[in-house]
Amino acid sequence: MTGGWFRIYAYGFLLFLYAPILLLPIFAFNDGAIVAFPLAGFTTKWFDQLWVEPALHQALKNSLIIAVAASILSTCLGIFAARASTRYTFPLKGGLIGMIMLPLVLPEIILAIALLVVLLGIGIPLSIYTVILGHVLVCTPFSIAVLTAAFQSLDKSLEEAAYDLGETPASTFRLIILPLVTPGIISSLLMTFTISLDEFLMAFFLAGTQPTLPVYIFSQFRFPKSVPVVLALGTVLVVASIILLTIAEYFRRRGIAKTGGKDTGGFL
C-alpha cells in the first residue's frame, strides 16, 4: 500500500465528490413527494412522469438543437485556433489567445448580461439562436484546450513529408492532419455538447421564451411537488453524460496513442 494517509484522504475526497451523484438515484426511486429522509419505499413513477410532460419535451428539444449546433460551431472555431496557436507565430498571439480563453475564468453572469445588452441593442430577438451564440463563446475555450493537445502531439515531419511528395496545404490537411486529430475532434464535440447541454446561466438570460433543459429544471425547483420528477430527470442526465464522457475519454486516449504521444492527463 502506497501513500498511507494520502490514500485514505484521496478515497474520502472521492466520496465527497460523488456524494450528490450517489444520492440522486436514491431519491429518484424514493416513493415520497418530499425529498428528505427517511425513505418511503421504491417506485419508478417519477420516471414514468417524464414521458408526459410536454414542457419538458420542448425544453429537451431546444437543448438538443442548441447543444448540437454549439458543439459543431465551437469545435470548428477550436480547430482554427488550436492549429494556429500550435503551428504559427503571429503578432498579438498571446493577447488573442488570452481573449478567446477568457470565458474560462470570467463569471458567466458577466458574459450573459454583456451579450444580452448587445443583442437587445442591435434588436435581435431572444431565441434558441441567441443561446447558441452564447454557448459557442463558453464552449470554444474547452474545445481549444482539447484540440491544442491533439495538434501539439502531431509530428511536424509528417506534414513536411507530404509537402515534399507534392501535396498542397489543403490536401495535406485533409489527408494527413485531419485523420490524426480526428479523435481529438470527436472528443471536443462530445465535451462541448455536454457543456452546452448543462449550461444554465447563459440560457437563462438569452433564451427568451424558449427554455432549455436546465432553465426548465431551474423553474421546477420552485414547486416542491415536481422536485422528485426533476431528480428522475437528473438521474437520466447523469447516466447519459457519464456515457458520453467515457466515449470522449476513449477517443482522447486513442488519439494520443495514435500520434505516439504520452498520456499526461485529463480534459482540462
Partner: protein, 336 residues
Amino acid sequence: MISPTALYALLLLAAPLATIFAYSFLTDGYLTVDPIPTFSNYTEAWTNEVYRVVMLRSLGVSMSVTAATVILAFPIAYYVSFYVEPSRKSLWLFLITIPFWTSYLIRVFLWKVILGFNGVVNSGLMGLGVIDEPLTFILYNTNAIVITLAHAYAPFAILPIFVALEKIDRSFLEAGKDLGETGFVTFVRVTLPLAMPGVISAVMIVFIPVIGDYVTPHLVGGPEGKMVANLVQVLYLKLDNYPLGSALAVSSMILVGMVLVVAAMQLAIFGVVFKRVAPATPLLLAILTAFAAAQALLVVIVALWLTTGNAVITVGLGAVMHIGALLLLRKKGVMA
C-alpha cells in the same frame, strides 16, 4: 488561421464587455438608458449599504471557497502525482472530473438535500446520536454556499496543481533527501515552490468565477446569502436598471482584481524575505518571518484605509510603499 475564432471572440466577447463597461457610466431612465455620462452608478454600488454588504459577502465567500478548494485539492493532486502508478493516473483524473460534468443545477440542489433540516447530514448525525436537534447553521447561509462551491470547483483546483506537480523533476527530491533533509523540509523547500505556478492558476480559476456565481447562492444561500450575481440578475431582468447592474458587475471584477493584486504583492514579499532569511534561520522561523513581512503590507493598507477613508489614497500609497519595500529588499539581497 486564428482569424475566424478571434473575430468571433472580438464580436461576441470583447465588444459586449466594452458595452457593459460603457453602460456602467450611463444614466438609467424610465424604460430607456440615457446617454448622459455619470459616476452615480458606482457611487451607488460602493456606498449604498445593500450593495456594499452583498459585494463584501461575495468577496468573503469567494475567498473562503478558494482557500477551502485549494487546500483540499492539494493533497489529492499530490497523491495522484506522487503515489498513483503512471498507468492509473488518467483513470484517477477521469474519476475526479466526472462529477464536474454532471448537471450543475442538480448537484447544487442535492447539496440542499444533504445539508437540509431533514437532510442526510442531520438525519445521519441524529441517527448516530451525535446531536439531538438538527443543525441549522449548514443550510441557507454562506456556510452552505462555501461547501457547495468548494465541491463544484474541486476539479478546477486539482488539475492545475496536478499538472505543476507532474512537471517536477523527481531527482530534485532525491537530491534533497541525499543532502540529509527530512521529507517535510524537502517538501517545503523543493516541492511547494515548484508547485506554486499550479497553485496560483488554481486560485485564479476558482476565485474569479466564484464571485459571480448565481445558482448556488440562489438555491442554498437563503435570504441572507445573496451574492453579486443575484443582484445583477434582479437589476437586469426585474428592475430593468442596466447601468447599475453593469456597474455592480464591473465593480465585482475590480474588487477581484484588487484582491489578486494584494495577494500577488504579498506573495512577492514573502518570496523575497524568505530567500533572504532562509539560509541563516531554521525553516519554521524563516516561514514565520516572511509571512509576517507579507502581512505588514496588509496592515499598512488597512491602516491607510481607516485613517484616510479614501480609496484612491489607500490604493496609491499602498502600491508605492509596496514597490519601495520590494526594491529595497531586493537590493539588500544583492548586497548580502
